[in-house]
Symmetry: C2
């Protein structure tokens, strides 16, 4: 499984691996639709001007040019009309909302599952082309806070339905953190967040030094900020722990209340899966309230498999602003891990349930009639292309993992053989159906402990 990609950073799957990915995509689609999210797709390209709308891009972007470009065509980095591949689904979605605001009803709930591209150096868990699955709710002017709670529940349900190990959705709130920093006298809250974001990578000692060296914090301020970041609870007890630090600030109170709402509801509905983690900072992203990150337990080095948060202004159009809250699942990152760790596998490598064998080459057309009868009941069927020896036709099925072969006798009677057990029984093309577990490909978790 998980062979080396022929082009570094551009993974491709074998058919049986793709079945696992399709299963993941189908589970996500079904979960999102059960929660009333509408699907959209946006084009793969944006203009560089659009991509730079929120300021400097910290992602490596692929620009496009026609191979037979003519003089004067947009092709320089400085040209805002230059086309480039999108590096996430948030920027294109924000543009889509603004362009189509007159045709959407708000709050607009959408899911979007597409490839994105980043010209980064490929490494474990990081590809140049990968699939993201995003859900967002966007309001026109305002958006009730309840959606921040709801999205944590939807994601917990979606990830919980996948063949992956235990996961933890770690939630924090920017208002809580920023209010706290202000409360202790640190005004460059973005700077503090950027330092705190490095906690896992460089450790508390170095972060304390950074806060003092780069932001002019005192040793006490640095210690308080680090104390806040060390709070991590599976229930709402984080509130008392924060209060015990004795800092008072209105924004802090607002953030505490919001995070309390998320954790109190989620700890009841998805116990152990959603927790308050006051170290979560989400670095350079422009969130303004709730922030989410998700780790696979035992696979923390993989990085976050699902992140997001609340924006006061996902997009704006004149004086109209569109606040949003959303999360993005790294589908390719998850599927790579599922495949490389054998967390799940497909019951066979083809959709086919039955191979219709041929007794004579002339019976091919008649076999098509039988195939049509079986397919009308949702059974996937292939007809053998040639009347080779039956042993060879059975081997053809066996090699593909097709579980049943069908024989039509000269007297017009039929038999079907389960090539795993060897059992062979009479069958009527108008009535026969396979056991439910053989009707379609099953993707089943391996026996390793999963969530």
């Amino acid at each position: 499984m998980a062979r080396k990609a022929s082009l570094s950073g551009f993974p491709e799957w074998l058919p049986q691996e793709r079945l696992v990915e399709l299963h993941v995509l189908d589970v996500l689609r079904r979960t999102f639709e059960l929660h009333g999210f509408s699907n959209i797709e946006t084009r793969a390209v944006e203009t560089v001007g659009q991509l730079l709308r929120k300021g400097e891009i910290d992602k490596e972007v692929y620009a496009l040019s026609r191979l037979q470009a003519e003089e004067g065509e947009a092709s320089g980095k400085e040209d805002p009309n230059q086309l480039a591949l999108h590096f996430d689904l948030t920027v294109p979605f924000a543009r889509y909302v603004v362009e189509n605001a007159g045709h959407l009803s708000f709050p607009f709930r959408r899911y979007q599952i597409q490839k994105v591209w980043r010209g980064e150096r490929p490494q474990e868990g990081r590809a140049r082309e990968f699939t993201q699955a995003d859900i967002d709710v966007v309001g026109d002017g305002d958006l009730p806070f309840r959606y921040d709670v709801e999205l944590a529940l939807v994601i917990a349900e979606a990830l919980g339905a996948l063949p992956i190990p235990e996961f933890k959705i770690r939630v924090n709130n920017r208002k809580l953190a920023e209010g706290f920093y202000r409360g202790i006298g640190l005004e460059d809250t973005a700077g503090v967040l950027r330092s705190i974001d490095k906690l896992e990578k460089i450790g508390a000692q170095r972060v304390a030094e950074l806060l003092q060296e780069e932001l002019g914090a005192t040793a006490e301020q640095a210690e308080a900020a680090l104390k806040l970041a060390s709070i991590r609870t599976e229930d709402t007890s984080f509130v008392e722990q924060v209060r015990a630090l004795g800092v008072s600030n209105d924004l802090l109170e607002e953030g505490l209340d919001e995070l309390f709402q998320v954790i109190s509801e989620a700890s009841r509905r998805a116990p152990g899966r959603v927790l308050a983690d006051l170290s979560i900072a989400r670095g350079l992203d422009y969130y303004t309230g709730t922030v989410y990150e998700t780790v696979l337990v035992g696979h923390e080095a993989l990085g976050s498999i699902c992140s997001g948060g609340r924006y006061d202004s996902l997009a704006s159009k004149g004086s109209r602003t569109f606040p949003g809250v959303g999360l993005s699942i790294g589908v390719t990152r998850l599927v790579m891990r599922i495949l490389s760790q054998d967390f799940a596998s497909a019951s066979r490598s083809v959709p086919t349930t039955v191979l219709l064998t041929l007794a004579t080459d002339e019976s091919w057309s008649e076999a098509q009639d039988i195939a049509a009868q079986l397919r009308s009941r949702g059974i996937s069927v292939e007809v053998a292309p040639k009347a080779e020896k039956f042993g060879k036709q059975i081997k053809f099925a066996d090699r593909r993992g097709i579980p049943f072969v069908w024989f039509t006798r000269e007297d017009g009677s039929h038999e079907v053989k389960d090539i795993r057990s060897g059992d062979q029984v009479p069958a009527d093309p108008a009535l026969w159906t396979p056991p439910a577990e053989d009707l379609t490909v099953q993707v089943t978790p391996a026996s390793v402990p999963t969530a």
Copy 2:
């Protein structure tokens, strides 16, 4: 419907339009899987070297470069390692087969539904980014001719399940045409095919002139080639019509026999949908036997909505060759037409079947329990974010086309209202289910005549 794309040639759909596209994609996937085709996806990029493998590209290709490229990175047209977006799914599939030959079992049946990109001038029916749905069967060394017959049947079934008007799959055979041209003494068969390909565009008179001026054909030879191209039958009577032209050639006989097999089977199974059309040439494509093209009746100007053919060598690896036969459906072209002509529409714009209203803001959490019960039976549910006046909550549902609203009384009883009829009845969250036609979004053909 079908608003103007904000970037010319890059169409995007509104949520209710996307539901129509999703329906088309779901129908194709289901049909292909019922016939035992495995799904794969290939990366969006190929190297320019790979794209040029079959010689000059007549498509406009988008090349990639990192926006922050460093000196010495591949970025010139002459560099075979330069990355570019694929312009079809055949070239990537051929590469995939060669790279993974050791992991596939042949004949390999695959379907592939992905975006492709061409930097052409956008026009009606021609976009710069569009989705193709391809099916191919590929053999290792040889591939029985039967698959040429089978693929015509699969495509007729797939297109027949879509909400589109009547269509005609026009089939020809390169051996038949080339054998005939040789039989009348025209050796530059590729040249003749290229001229015949212009028949619909420039007419018989001009083609006759081209054949004489450019290929040195006599008036009689030109007349014979045009006579062949004028043959079009819904049954196998084309054989007699060709024989009546009195040309004798072995390759012609082989082609006649092959086309006979396709048409005799298809005219029986998909009457009126598959026909022999001896004018089909498929221009510059490298087919070696059967060729297919498909028109929507009454929409001929749209161009072919599904084309393909047989390759003696789709790919090769050392001395190993992989013959293939396949077809490609222009999904975006079809969906654009379905939307612009209102051939079909979605029963609502959101997946949601029920909106749970709130009597008080505090009942939100309880409503989540009811929602979970309904969702466990496959019912798509949204919970209102706030306890606004019921009239406002009902309007919220109505605006989205959500057919049912749910009320939970203070005494714990429940009622559900069909907001289309106004009927309101008691309901049990553990038992209630909507009528089947309201459970999921229905995409139904309009009352215009469809196939």
